[in-house]
Amino acid sequence: MQAENVIAIGSSTGGLVALKEILSQFPENLGAAIIIVQHMPGFISKSVVNTLQEVTKLRVKLSKEGEILENNTVYIAPGGDRHLVVNGKKIRLVDGEKVNFCRPSVDVMMHSIAEEFGERAIGTILTGMGCDGAGGIASIKARGGVTIAQDKTTSAVFGMPKAAIDTGKVDSVIPSYKIASEIIERLNHQRLT
């Protein structure tokens, strides 16, 4: 079922723990597609996919060029050398310069999500150093989507969430263990309108 709603998650240092926590709390009929950009070296991408698949009922895949976004599926951006964008509801892996010192960049991914899905997007920034994702969050908010940032207490490093919060475009700042329920609630709301 081609996804109409999408949840975009950006995370970096210390993100794995939070991702496990969040994904494990989603039901298998979530009703949206999830795209995750986790800053990591390319050689562990597949491993990470497997690790995450072990904890969740959703389908976890390593993103491939041209893949169409489907509901109840988690798409992990391959680490290392290309940016992930969504164009025409399809995943595209694009070469390019590092953005915010990162590639794949959360900003790049979220900008494209904002454009594609507008009000049907939920953007989440999890723990990380640096400031990748702040711009992307602002973009999602500007197009009518919902934005969430992980709180300081549960973040391994509060850098990325703080940068996002500082844009003033974050709707909720929540501990990692509450993020999943927040997302589900927001998703239902988005689907009704």
């Binding site: 050689f43 562990i44 690790t51 990162c102 990380g128 150093m129």
Partner: protein, 124 residues
Amino acid sequence: MAVDDDPRIREVLEMLFAMEGIDIAVASGGEEAIKILEREGDNIDLLLLDIMMPRMDGWDVVKALKDRGWTNKLLITMLTAKGDPGDKAMELEEYVFDYITKPFDPDELVRRVKDFLEIMDAAK
């Protein structure tokens, strides 16, 4: 491998992981760490790096590893009392997989290390 200038921490980490059956090497500083990696780089999957060290701080070590291309062979986790990574962290963001503050909960640390080692095993 754990890199920390404080011998007490080194001792604790050695004992902790020995009890869990995980091989761990220790280095007291950046230069020593690099020497060890040159010798046995292929056997080391995970680095626990302190930040506040004399001469070469944790970020310098990460940068050195990146320049040698070793960041494609192992995962790096900072293990530090510093709550705020500081400015040096910005460019090195994508090479640091986790960041654990001291004082740390040994059980939690072990859990995470086991997780990361599993990921490394699967990636081989």
